[in-house]
C-alpha cells in the first residue's frame, strides 16, 4: 500500500472557452509549487497536472467535469489551490 497521503476533488470547467492555454498555464504554475504528484482525470483519461501539453490534450470544454488527484505530502494543499482556480473561474487580480 502507498503511504503517501492522497486527496481528490471534483471540479467543473465554467470557462466559456473551455480549458485553453491561459487557464492551463495557470494550473501548471500553481501545481509546480507543490511537491506532490497531481493527476487530472477527465472521463477515462488521466494526465499529468504539471504538464501543459498533457492538460491541453484533454480539450476540456465548458461544463466538463474533472477529477483532481493529488498524491504526496502536500496533496491536500495542492488540490485546494488548483480547485480554488476553478472556483474563481481563473480570474486573477495579480500576476501569477
Amino acid at each position: 500500500m502507498n503511504s503517501n497521503p492522497t486527496c481528490t476533488r471534483e471540479v467543473i470547467v465554467k470557462l466559456e472557452n473551455g480549458l485553453h492555454i491561459r487557464p492551463v498555464s495557470q494550473i501548471v504554475k500553481v501545481a509546480q509549487k507543490f511537491s506532490c504528484e497531481l493527476a487530472i482525470r477527465k472521463g477515462d483519461r488521466t494526465v499529468d497536472g504539471k504538464s501543459i501539453l498533457d492538460l491541453m490534450s484533454l480539450a476540456a470544454e465548458q461544463g466538463a467535469s474533472l477529477l483532481l488527484e493529488g498524491r504526496g505530502d502536500d496533496a491536500a494543499q495542492a488540490v485546494e489551490a488548483i480547485a480554488a482556480l476553478f472556483e474563481r473561474d481563473f480570474a486573477s487580480d495579480r500576476p501569477e
Binding site: G18, H20, I21, S25, V28, K29, I52, L53, M56, S57
Partner: protein, 157 residues
C-alpha cells in the same frame, strides 16, 4: 479534427527569420496573408490581436514550442500555420527556453470548440517525442507536410 484540416500547407515556414516574438508572429501572419488564408487588409489587425493576447501570458508552453493565437472575425474557419526557427525565438516561455516550433492559430470568435480541438490535436502530437524531433529536423515545407500526414495517420509510433 486532423492537423491537415487546419494547417495551411502553402504557408509553412521552415526557416523563420527574426529572433523576437514580434518578428516571429509578423512573419507567420504575413505568410498566411501571402497565400490568401487571411485578407491583406486584416493582417495588421490580426498581428496586433495576437500580440495583445501574448500580453496576457506567453503562449510559449515549454519544450521549445509556442502557440500564438487569436480569435478574429475576418476568418470563417480556423486557419493555422507552422514555423520552425533555426536560431530560436525569445518568447518569454514558461520554462525560459527559446522556441523553435511555432503553431499560429486564427479562429472565428463564435467557435471556441474548434480552437480547443485544434489545441488538443497539436498538444497530443507534441507529446510524442518522435513528432517533436522530426519536426525540428524538417528542412522543407514538404517534409513538414509529410510529417503532419504521418501524425494524422498515427504512423509515428
Amino acid at each position: 479534427m486532423k492537423l491537415s484540416d487546419f494547417v495551411v500547407r502553402q504557408s509553412i515556414l521552415t526557416d523563420l527569420k527574426g529572433a523576437t516574438k514580434d518578428a516571429a508572429i509578423r512573419g507567420m501572419v504575413e505568410s498566411l496573408a501571402a497565400v490568401g488564408s487571411i485578407k491583406p487588409l486584416d493582417q495588421e489587425g490580426i498581428i496586433a490581436a495576437i500580440l495583445k493576447r501574448e500580453e496576457l501570458g506567453s503562449t510559449g508552453i515549454g519544450k521549445g514550442v509556442a502557440v500564438p493565437h487569436t480569435k478574429h472575425p475576418s476568418v470563417d474557419k480556423l486557419v493555422a500555420t507552422i514555423a520552425l526557427s533555426r536560431t530560436g525565438v525569445e518568447f518569454a516561455s514558461l520554462d525560459g527556453d527559446k522556441v523553435q516550433i511555432l503553431f499560429l492559430l486564427v479562429s472565428p470568435p463564435d467557435r471556441p470548440g474548434d480552437h480547443l480541438r485544434a489545441l488538443e490535436n497539436i498538444s497530443r502530437h507534441l507529446r510524442n517525442d518522435n513528432f517533436c524531433n522530426f519536426l525540428k529536423q524538417a528542412q522543407t515545407p514538404q517534409a513538414v507536410i509529410e510529417l503532419l500526414e504521418e501524425a494524422d495517420n498515427n504512423q509515428l509510433g
